[in-house]
Each structure stands twice: as C-alpha cells, then as structure tokens.
Symmetry: C2
Subunit: 128 residues, 2 copies
Amino acid sequence: MTYAIAEAAHRTGLSIDTLRYYERIELVDPPARDSGGRRAYSDEDLAWLGFLTRLRTTGMPIKLMREYARLRHQGIASAGQRKRILERHREDVRARIEELRSCLGALDYKIDNYERVIGSDHIQEASA
Amino acid sequence: MTYAIAEAAHRTGLSIDTLRYYERIELVDPPARDSGGRRAYSDEDLAWLGFLTRLRTTGMPIKLMREYARLRHQGIASAGQRKRILERHREDVRARIEELRSCLGALDYKIDNYERVIGSDHIQEASA
DNA sequence: GCTTGACCTGGAGTGCACTCCAGCTCCTAC
DNA sequence: GTAGGAGCTGGAGTGCACTCCAGGTCAAGC
C-alpha cells in the first residue's frame, strides 16, 4: 500500500509542505515515486514519520532528530547511540512534565485568587 | 528594595536583554529609574516577571501575555477576563502534560526495544 | 485536445522570541 | 582626572521550524 502526499499528510497530521521540508533536510528518506514522478509513501514511511512526530511533539529539536535519522542508516551498529539519544530525551520529557506540573500549581493558585476576588462567573460579559 | 537590571536578570532567570525586550513590547511596565537613569526593579516588578516567566514556561504565547498585561492595567474590572485567560491556559497546559505523557509511553516502548536488540550497555563506546 | 486538479521544484518569506551591536552616558575606584 | 564597568538606546541580526510562491509537469475526464 502506498499513499500520495496529500494522503500521507492527512495520516501523519503534518502538512504537505512539511513532508517535503522533512525530506529536503534529510529527516526522512526520499519516498518511492509513482509512474508520474509523484511521491508514493509506504506504510513504513508513515510509521517513521509518526515516530518523528512524537519526537517533535515532545520538543526534540530537528537537529537531533536528524542525527538520530543519520544513525538509523548505519543499522544495528548505531543502536546503542540511538538508545542513548532516546534515554536522554526521555529524561528531558520527564523534566518538562514536572516543570509543567509545578506551573500548574501556580496557575491554580492564581485562579483561586480571582475566584475570591470576583465571587463567581457573573457580570463579566464583553466588558471591553 | 530595588534591583539593578543585572540583579533582576539573575533573580528572574531572564537575560538582561530579555528584560529590556519585555519592556519594549509592553509586557512589563517601565520600572523606576535611579538617579543615574538606570532601571531599578522593585520586588513587585520581580513578582510580575516571575509570574510571566511561569506563563512563558508553560508555553503561553507572548501575544496573549501582552493581552493579559493590558487587562491588568484596567484593574479589577478585568478580573473576569483575566481569570478566563488563565483557565483557558490551564486547560492547554493539562492537555500538553497528557500529550507528553502519552509520548513518554512510546519512548519507553522504543527504548525497551533497543534494550532487547543490543542486550545491554556494552560495546557502544564512541563507535562513530 | 483541452481543462482541471494534484503534484513537482528551487527558492523566498514568515512569525516567534529573543539576542547582539555600536556608540553613548554615568558612577566608582584608584 | 581618568580608566573601567554597568547600564543606556535604537535598530539590526539570529535560529528555528515551517510556509508560501511562481512556474512547470502529468494523468484523467469531458
């Protein structure tokens, strides 16, 4: 099964431009082409894009993702290095979650204060 | 108690340039000045900067922070609007935490796979 | 056979949040 | 009284991750 770029974009949640951009910067390998020279993404391509999307979502910079992609090409020999990248990133993500959680506390506190100040949710229509 | 810009930067964790930048874009009110025309940040200034930093940390765009700052100037009349901004943002933060958590699962899975593939942490020295 | 729509390329442009710079002033310490 | 360091201003530059564009190709349907 292969997918035209529009379909691939739809399935990955990335834009068509982003798919081409990722290819240009060598984050993904150039996908196969159909008889008319158009990109034909495979399920594997989409799986890799899906994984990349998770890395992006969690804030991994594209530079590091490129490094990871580069290592992937070297096959199993680079598995240790790749694992270390992911472990390192996992730590970053965990730290980020903790950071967000702590800010959430501050936000709760602030909102509680507003609650006390204004009583409740009345009167504040478009009082611009 | 007031603080020179370097001290304010140190205490807020922002850079001197960022402090001046925040002032330029009207995210913070211009602080008082000392006899020599230099900025003299008050404890209140720092508290506001601290709160802004939390909003930034949690990903609130500067545009929205400016809107919040603008509303603050209107005093209590805008409390409802400000509260709503924070509530909305709190939802965003919660969603973001969930998103990160879900990606964390995928990361764990991937790392486990590497563990299985390479046995354990030997041999992968600088095998560039 | 011609319009239409999806796709192609290389390159330029965008928005965000800073960050840096040149050239200046002002206080402090020697 | 002067050298040095902190701070000042307006404006330009940076890095990141896209996003958009002009001008072209290609296959399908009418």
